[in-house]
């Protein structure tokens, strides 16, 4: 589903190379995790895939079901089925959460040539999905993420994902700032969305999220590359021993 080949990215503003040839393929129905030390390029990868400004792709490709993503605007990528759950969800005072969600959903439907939903149809869908994430009517009415706790913000991200039903979901450190209960809620929300025609890329520092969202494949990223891939046990290895050993042996293999 998602195929990244030889992706090289640097910052636009300064001459700093962040991604140095990322190769990654996430087939439909699978959950892949990316782990790696700070500064290895994990978040950059998620931003580049979703189309944030400020990055320059100097080489490589990234396709979603064969369609090249990198030339598209963020909204076109979203309509194509890509979704990024933000590490730091943005607070937008003055824009109601429901207005935001409905505008987004209908914009995507329109872009795909589907009928837009009216207010009643939309509300019905949102209420059901919000309930599963323990998001009450009050939270839906408030401005987007304004005054939300860390856990509420992350649950709101998953709600957006559940409503927009993207095919390719990228979760950028969704576990950061979550307590155990919130992590369970969020994980259950993600797991409920797992399906044969949907794929996930879960970026995380810690193995504990992967206890709840069990990945098919774990990738280790370091210095702008995927240096090692393996099964779920790789996450456990990182948790117990840190990155040093893995990076060292990966370095030897690369050499």
């Amino acid at each position: 589903m998602l195929k990244i080949s030889n992706l090289h990215v640097q910052l636009e503003e300064e001459d700093k190379v962040i991604l140095k040839g990322v190769d990654l393929e996430v087939p439909a129905g699978e959950v892949h995790a990316i782990m790696g030390p700070n500064g290895s390029g994990k978040s950059t990868l998620s931003y580049v895939l979703s189309g944030r400004d400020g990055y320059e792709v100097t080489a490589g490709t990234a396709t979603l079901d064969g369609e090249e993503l990198l030339g598209l605007e963020p909204e076109e990528r979203a309509a194509a089925g890509l979704f990024l759950a933000f590490q730091y969800p943005v607070e937008i005072p003055g824009v109601g959460n429901l207005t935001f969600l409905r505008t987004a959903l209908n914009a995507q439907r329109k872009a795909r040539g589907e009928e837009e939903l009216n207010a009643a149809e939309f509300l019905k869908i949102v209420r059901a999905k919000a309930k599963a994430l323990d998001i009450d009517a009050e939270m839906l009415k408030r401005p987007v993420n304004v005054g939300f706790s860390g856990g509420e913000k992350k649950r709101n991200e998953i709600l957006q994902m559940a409503v927009l039903e993207p095919r390719m979901c990228i979760l950028d450190e969704t576990d950061s700032g979550l307590d155990v209960d919130a992590m369970k809620l969020v994980s259950a929300g993600v797991n409920a969305l797992r399906s044969p025609d949907r794929a996930f890329l879960v970026i995380t520092h810690y193995q504990r999220l992967l206890d709840h969202i069990v990945p098919d494949v774990v990738h280790i990223m370091a210095d702008g590359r995927i240096v090692h891939s393996g099964g779920p046990e790789l996450a456990l290895e990182v948790e117990n021993n840190g990155y040093a050993d893995i990076l060292k042996s990966a370095g030897e293999r690369v050499a």
């Binding site: 944030r52 400004d53 963020p74 909204e75 309509a79 935001f100 872009a111 957006q160």
Partner: protein, 428 residues
Amino acid sequence: MAVPALKLDAAGGLLAAWPEPAGEAQWARAARSQAERWLRERGAPARRDEYWRYTDPTSLTVEPAPEAALLATDEVPVFQTRETHRLVFVDGVFSPEASTPLEIAGVEIVPLREALAADIHWVRDIFGQIEAAGQVPVERPLAALNTARAVEGCAIRVTGVASRPIHFVYRRAAADADALIHHVIRLDAGADLTVLESAAGAARLNTVMEVEIADRAALHHVRTQGRDHQRRAVTGLFARLATESRLKSFTLTVNGRLTRNEAFVEMRGDNASAHVAGACVGDGDFHHDDTVFVTHAAVGCESRQVFKKVLRGSAVGVFQGKILVRPVAQQTDGYQISQALLLDEAAQFLAKPELEIYADDVKCSHGSTSGAVDETSLFYLTSRGIPKKTAEELLILAFLDEAIAEVEDEGLADELRDRLAAWLARRR
């Protein structure tokens, strides 16, 4: 310091352009000549004046008024969907045929011309008086012109809770119309009234609204200034508030070559509350100036000034806002915010926030900012599939909402939001 001859000449020119009102009561004549004398002595506004540095008054003082093309639109006029008492002015002239009959329960409405010819004590106590009090310390020569010459407008007295809003509709017919409109509004103790104003009114519109709000009374004022691109307007809201009374004034301005909205609000009774707010959206040949002066002259009063401007092209926004706290005004709560969203490099925002405080037990805050649309927010919205233009509009509406939220009536506030959304979408 001698007043420059140019200012005096311009004042003479403005006064000469309008016939001297005739057949009025002695008290009305006295108020007129007081205003005329003031204007002749102080002169018309000029760029060198302290409060006209950011706004060139030339097109407001030149005779004849510059022409302004009429707006061609098939849009349903604002506030038409609700039940209001409509008072229609065409190019600044009251049109009884187009208006609702003047009878309304709990409200007395008299055309200004009639009110000034009769002996109506409550009009006498207000007409030209609140405006004159508002000339110090900041001169408002164009309001003085209005008091000296305006014969159009209404005198309104509310004794209870008005059953419907009063809606002043300012229609345009001629491309070169110059108009003076003067309203006198008196709210008796405990009264409650909503006053709506809509549309551009004239090529050059000069309005004054003098308002006396007695104990525990409340005035809600909601105004939209039309969408005409070339019109000019100078408005003056002069309000005096008694104990526990409330004023809420909000103005929405979209387009217009030049707008100067002045407000002078004095809280004279304890625990009064005054909110003056404005939202404006302009592109290109657009100059919008809010000049607001709020005086706390009693104990425990609260005031808010909230002004938001969205500017594009060479559009210019100006905010001059002052909170004056007199020595007697302990436990004052004053707040002032002015913000501009600059959609490109050519747009400009000039702000002069002022606090002048002579009491010691006072809470006053003010802030003024200008900036571009937040890129992070824009990315967040677009990453959810919202097209960039729509996302930008959402953020613009969100930015303006703190001002619109000052409109207490949710139905009115929502109509303003819907209008704005539709008008912004037209620009795509």
